[in-house]
Symmetry: D2
Subunit: 401 residues, 4 copies
C-alpha cells in the first residue's frame, strides 16, 4: 500500500473518545490514522464491528492484537506474585494495562513505519503519563499526539457534535455517567455519584460483581494449585494463568469478591475516587499470600513487603519499562521460586478465606511448634537466645544509671 | 509487713500455669511470690476469686491493676494509627499486651521492693522474649524467673499432678485443647486441630466472633468519629477510645468481623498457626485507613506504609521500649495529626466497607478531579509535566542508540 | 507609603540575573519590585552597596534580613543530625537554602501586602521547583513570576545588553565562567570546564577550600563538643551552632576538607555536574557519626540510614514544608536525643578522622567486649542464641531433603 | 585410608587457637581432625609449613584450597557492586570471608565423609554465628564443635600451657596484643589500646597501609576500566578482578587509603572497636560509585542505597546463604548491567578522588544541562511540571484556609 501521508498509530478502543480522535487527527495533522486494538480481555463488541467502526470513522486500517495470555503472564503476575497494592488496596488493574498497550503500539508502528503515536487518555489522569512514559522508554523518536490536551472539546456533547458534523456514525449517547476501564484483570468505575465522597457507591457503580447481599448464602470452596507463584490449576484442573484468572473472575463475581471503593492519590497530584472490581485477582492474591506464609522466612516476608510497596508505586507511576522495575521484579522472582503448593479457599459474601494450605517447601512442621520435646528446638536454648537478643537493651539500661 | 524472704512479682493470670508457678518458685527459690494481675480487658473470673485463688496457691499477696484505658490509648492505638500488621495481617493483639504487663510488674516490684520477676510464658514462644526484653529495658537488676524453661514439667498433666501433690485446689482440667491469650484488643487460639495446616479451623477455634454464615443477613451501618487518629465516637455518641473499642468488639463480633487464620514466623525461628479475633480493632483499622485516603498526600501514604512495616516487626519482636519504637511512633504521630473525620462503615458477613467518608482536612475536592476547567489544574500543564517526568527515560532511550 | 502599583517581592542577590529582573518585571507587569536579601551567610558586597544597587536597578525598596543563626539551627542541622547525603555524597547545601529564602519572601510579602513573588532561578534547574514548592505550601494565592521561564533572554550578553538599554549600571562582566551558589553551609560551582566529565575540575572550580596538595603538612586536631546532635563547642569553647560552623569552615578550608566533584540527578530529569565545598559541614557530619557509633544500637543505626536516605531526597526535591519532612525530622530528633559527647578529629590533607570519642550515653563498655569473663555476657549463651537464630535456616535445610 | 575414628573438618589457620583445637578435639571427642586451610589471600607462612604444623599438632591431614579468585568474584564483588557499607563505613571484609570458608568446609566434609565441623571463632564475636549459620544453611546434619564456647581456657597463656603439656611445638608468643583477621580484601585489628575509645589508634594498629603523613607527597593517578560493575583493567592493562584487587591493595596501601577506625554494633549485642584496612576495596568502591553517577537514574540511585543498606546487615549478620541475599543480589545485578566505563582516580594522602569519568551508558549529555536551547529539554515545560508537581501541596494550602 503506497500512502501519500505518513501514519499515526492510535490506541483504539471503539469508544466515543477514540472514535472522535480519528477524524480530529486527520483534520489537524497531515497524517493517516491506523487504529490498533490491543485485546487484553476487555469486553468489546464483535471484533468485526470494531474494525468496521474504525474504518467508518476514517481510519486507514484497524488491527486487533490478542495479548491476553501475555498480559496475564508478563504484566499482571509480576504484581500478584510480589503482592503489589497501591496505597494499601488497589491491585493496579488499569495501571498495568498501559505498558502492554503502549508497547504494542510502538511495535506495530515500527512494523508499518508509522511516525506517530496517539492515545485517548484525558489531561487530568494518570494514563496519559503512563502511555507517554512507555513511548519515552521504547522509542523517543515517534511523535506523540495527545488529543485531550490539544483540542478544545470539553465534554461528550462536544465530541458527539463533532462526529455529527463529520458525518461519522456513532452509537454513543450523550449521557454516560461513569468513566470505565476494563481488561481481564479488572474493571474500574469513576465519576457520577462517586464524585461526592459522602455518597455511597450506587448499584450501577459495579459492573462485574454481585452485590454481597445477593451473593449465594452458601460458601463455595475452590482448590487452587500454585507453581512458583502462578496459579495453574483450579479444582485440580490445569489451566494457563490467563484461563485460571478468567474462571476465577466468574467464580469471584458470583460471591461479590474483589470490590474496593477508594480515594487515591493520582500521580498528577489530584485525589480521585474509584470503584474497582478485581474478583479473580483478589482470589489469586490471597492464594499466593497463603502459600507465602508456609514458605517464606521472617526476613523474606518483610523484604517482600518492601518490594511490594516499591513496585506498587512504580507501576502506578508509569515506570514499567525502567531499570528499577526490572530490579525489583528480579528480586521478587527469586523469592517466588518456592511459592508452590495447594490452597483451599472459601469464598463467601465478598470474602476469601484460605482455610487449608500445604506446600512441598513448607517451613512449618507440626512437631517443631508444639510443646513436646524435639531434636530441632531445645527450650533451654531460649535463655541464651534471650540473653544475647536483649543484650544491647540491658547495656543501655545499665549505662543509664 | 515484715517478711523473712524476698519477693518475686509474678505476672499472674489465674490459669493452670501461673497457679503451678507459685508453689514451684517457693519450693525452688528462697522467695515469696506476689501475684500481680494486670487487667487489660481479658475476661477472668470474679476478681475476688482470682485473689483467693492466688492466695490459696501460696502467694503472699495478689494485686489487680486496671490498665484497660491506658492499654488502649498508649499501646494499642500507636499500632492502629500507623496501621501495623505483622506479616500482612496480624494486628499484634498478643504482642502489644506484653510490654504493658511487664512494665506493670517492674513498677510494682520497685514499689514493694521485690527482687525478682516471673512470667508463665513457654520456652518455644515469642512471649518469653517480649517479657524479658521489657525487663531488660526497664530494670536489668531484677532477677528473672522463667519456670517453663527451668522446670521439668512437660504437660498439663504434669502440672495438675504437681498441684495435687501440693494440695492446691484447681478447677483446671486435663484436657485443654487450645492455648489462648485474651485482652480487650483480641483473643488468640493456637494448638489442637490447628496444628495440621490441612485442617480447617473448627467451630471451637473461634471464641468471640460469630461464624460468618450465622451473622445477620442484613448489613449494619455504623458511624465513627475520628480525631487525630483516635476513634472517639460511635453513631455520634462520644466515648473514650477504650469504650469505643469495647463497643465495636460487640458489634463486630455479631457480624463475624476480624477473624484471621494464619501461619506466622515466630521471633524464635519457628512457624506457628494461630486463629486471631480482633473485631473492634479491625473496624477501627479500616476506619482510620478511610480517613487517611482523604488527608494523606502520596508521599505520606507511602511513608506511612514503611513506618507500619517497621513498627509491626518491632512490636512482634518485643522491642516496645526502644529508641527505634519511639522514633517511629513520633514519625507516625506527626502524620496522624490530620487524621480527623467521619466514616460510615457497612458491616456485613465478616467484612467492613467504608461507604461514606469526610474530613475537614480532606485534600479531595470534587471540582479538581472532574473534567471541567478549574483554576487549580490546567490540562495544558500536563504536557510540561510529562516532558520533564519522562526526561531521564527519554535520555536513556536516546543514548541507547 | 502610598503606592500606585501593587508589589512583587523578589529574592534579590545583587547579581546580574536578579538585577535585570527588576526592570524586566516593571516593564512586563504592572508591579513595583521590592528587593529582599536573605542573609544566610553568603559573602556579598558591603550591605549598603547591595541596597543602593537594588534601588538603582529600579526597586522601590530593599530589605536585608539576617537569618544566619536560624538557617544553621533550623534548616542545616536537621540534615546533619540525621546524616542526609543526596546520592551518597552531597550535603544538600543549595537545596536547604531555598526553603528559608522562600519562606522569608512570603513572610515579608504578607507584612507589606505584596501580591506576587519572584525568583531568579533558571528553567533547567532544581531551584525553580524548590522556590515554587515553598510558595505552594505556604501561600498559594500569591502570584509567581519566574523570569527565566518567561523572557527571551538566553545569555549573560542578553542581560547586559538589556541593562545597558535601560541605563542601569552594573559591574557584571560578559564572561562569567561558572554558576555559583553560596551560603554559610556551602558553595557550589557548575558550568565551564566541568561540563565535560572527562575534564578534571580546574583550580578555579574551587573557591573556599585549599587544594589538598597545598594544605598543611601537619595534621590539626580539633575537639568538638556535641549536645543532642548539635556541635556546640570547639576546643572547649562554647559557641552557637552558627558560630561553630563558621569557625569550622575556616579550619576545614585550610585542610582542603569537604570537596566533592559529582554528577547528580536533578529533580527535572537531567544529570549535571557540580563541585561542592562544605568544609565545616563535613567536619560536623563526621563528628556526629562518631558519637552515633557509641550511642546507637543496631536497630537505630539501620533505621537512621533509612531516615537519612528519605530525607536526602525530600530536601533535594524541594519538599521541606511537607508532612513527610516533619514526620522524618520528628523521628530523627528522637534518635538524636542521645547524641551527646566529645570527639577529637584529626584534619589532614582533605580528610577528617575521628581519632578519639566519648559519650555519657555510650553503649560501649570496655569489659563487655573483651575476652575476660563478665556478668553481662556469658559465652555459653551464644550456643542458645545461635541455635534459635539459625533455626529457620536449619529447618529450611532439613525440609529441602 | 581406613580410619578407626570418624572425622571432623576444622577451619584451620595455623594460629595458636586452631593449633590448640586439634589436640583438644582429639582429647574430648572420639574424632580425628582434618585441617582445612582455605586460601582467600591471607598472608600465611610457606604453605608446606602450615601443612607440617597441622600434622605436628595432631591432624590426620591438611588440605589447602585456593579460592582466591572465587572469593573476589562471587563474594566480595556482590558487596562492592551494590556498595554495601555496614553502619555507614565498614566494607565487611571479615564478614564476607566466613561463608566461603564454611562452605568449603562442608564441601570437603562431604567429599571425605566427615561427620563434624569445627571453627576457632570466639564466643563473644560475630564469626561464630556466621560460621554456624552457613553450616545450618547447607548441611544441618553435621555436628558442630565450637571449642571457644566449650573449653575452659580463657587466655593465650592457657592455650600455650596446654600445647606444652601435649608436647606440641608452637612459635606463638604469650603476648599478642591484637586480634587480627586477614584476606585479600582486608585486614582487621581489634583489642589492645583500641579497647579504650579515648585512645588514638597507635601506629602498630595498622598493618597494610602507610600512615597518611608518610604517604607520598605527590598524588598518583590510576585509570580503572569497569565492566558490568567489575574492575577489569588498571591503567589499561586487563586483569582478573582478583588480580586487580591485589594490585590496588598495593597502590592504595602506599597512599594510606582505606583505613577506618570505628565502633560497631556486633550481631550479639555488644559494641566493639575495630581498625580495618581495605585499600584496594576502597578504591574499587569509589570507582564503581563514580560510574553509577553517570548511568543510574534518580530512582535507581535511591533504590540502590536501599539494597546496599539491607545487604550490609544481611552479610554482617551471617545470612549469606539465604533467599533474601539471593533476592537482593539479583536486584543488584540488574542495576549493575550498565555500570561500565572508565574512571581516573587521584590517590593522595588517604583519599580517593574520581577526577575523570566516562561511560558508554552515560545519561549525562553536555548539551542537556547547559543553558542553550536544545530539543530534549524545553524550559517552558518546567512551568507545567512545577504546577503539577506542587499540586497536592497547593491543594493542602488552599484547603487549610
Amino acid at each position: 500500500m503506497i500512502l501519500s501521508k505518513k501514519i499515526v498509530v492510535l490506541a483504539y478502543s471503539g469508544g466515543l473518545d477514540t472514535s472522535a480522535i480519528i477524524p480530529w487527527i486527520k483534520e489537524n495533522y497531515d497524517l493517516n490514522v491506523f487504529a490498533l486494538v490491543v485485546d487484553i480481555g476487555q469486553s468489546f463488541e464483535d471484533l468485526q464491528d470494531i474494525e468496521k467502526k474504525a474504518i467508518s470513522s476514517g481510519a486507514i486500517g484497524c488491527q486487533i492484537i490478542d495479548l491476553k495470555e501475555k498480559f496475564v503472564n508478563d504484566y499482571v503476575y509480576p504484581l500478584l506474585k510480589i503482592g503489589a497494592l497501591y496505597e494499601g488496596s488497589y491491585l493496579l488493574g488499569t495501571a498495568i494495562a498501559r505498558p502492554i498497550i503502549a508497547k504494542a503500539q510502538i511495535d506495530f508502528a515500527k512494523k508499518i513505519g508509522a511516525v506517530a503515536l496517539a492515545h485517548g487518555a484525558t489531561g487530568k489522569g494518570n494514563d496519559q503519563v503512563r502511555f507517554e512514559m512507555v513511548y519515552a522508554s521504547l522509542d523517543s523518536k515517534l511523535k506523540i499526539i495527545s488529543p485531550w490536551r490539544e483540542w478544545d472539546f470539553k465534554s461528550r456533547e462536544d465530541l458527539l457534535k463533532y462526529l455529527k458534523e463529520k458525518n461519522i456514525p456513532t452509537n454513543a449517547t450523550k449521557k454516560k455517567i461513569y468513566s470505565r476501564d476494563e481488561n481481564i484483570f479488572h474493571i474500574s468505575t469513576e465519576g457520577g455519584v462517586l464524585e461526592d465522597l459522602w455518597n455511597k457507591a450506587s448499584k450501577d457503580c459495579w459492573v462485574w460483581t454481585q452485590d454481597v447481599e445477593n451473593a449465594p448464602n452458601d460458601p463455595e470452596y475452590v482448590v487452587l494449585g500454585i507453581q512458583n507463584g502462578y496459579v495453574n490449576s483450579i479444582n485440580n484442573v490445569k489451566k494457563s494463568p490467563y484461563q485460571c484468572l478468567k474462571q476465577l473472575n466468574k467464580i469471584g463475581s458470583i460471591h461479590g469478591i474483589g470490590r474496593i471503593d477508594i480515594v487515591e492519590n493520582r500521580l498528577v497530584g489530584l485525589k480521585s475516587r474509584g470503584c474497582y472490581e478485581t474478583p479473580g485477582g483478589t482470589i489469586i492474591y490471597q492464594a499466593i499470600r497463603a502459600i507465602e506464609q508456609l514458605v517464606f522466612d521472617k526476613d523474606s516476608m518483610k523484604w517482600k513487603e518492601n518490594l511490594a510497596l516499591e513496585m506498587s508505586h512504580l507501576i502506578y507511576d508509569g515506570k514499567w519499562f525502567s531499570p528499577i522495575r526490572e530490579s525489583i521484579q528480579s528480586a521478587s522472582n527469586v523469592l517466588s521460586e518456592v511459592v508452590t503448593g495447594t490452597v483451599v479457599l472459601k469464598l463467601y459474601k465478598g470474602s476469601v478465606y484460605a482455610v487449608q494450605k500445604k506446600s512441598v517447601n513448607s517451613l512449618y512442621l507440626r512437631s517443631y511448634s508444639t510443646f513436646s520435646e524435639d531434636n530441632v528446638y531445645k527450650q533451654s536454648d531460649a535463655s541464651g537466645f534471650i540473653n544475647l537478643y536483649s543484650l544491647s537493651t540491658r547495656i543501655r539500661s545499665i549505662q543509664k544509671k
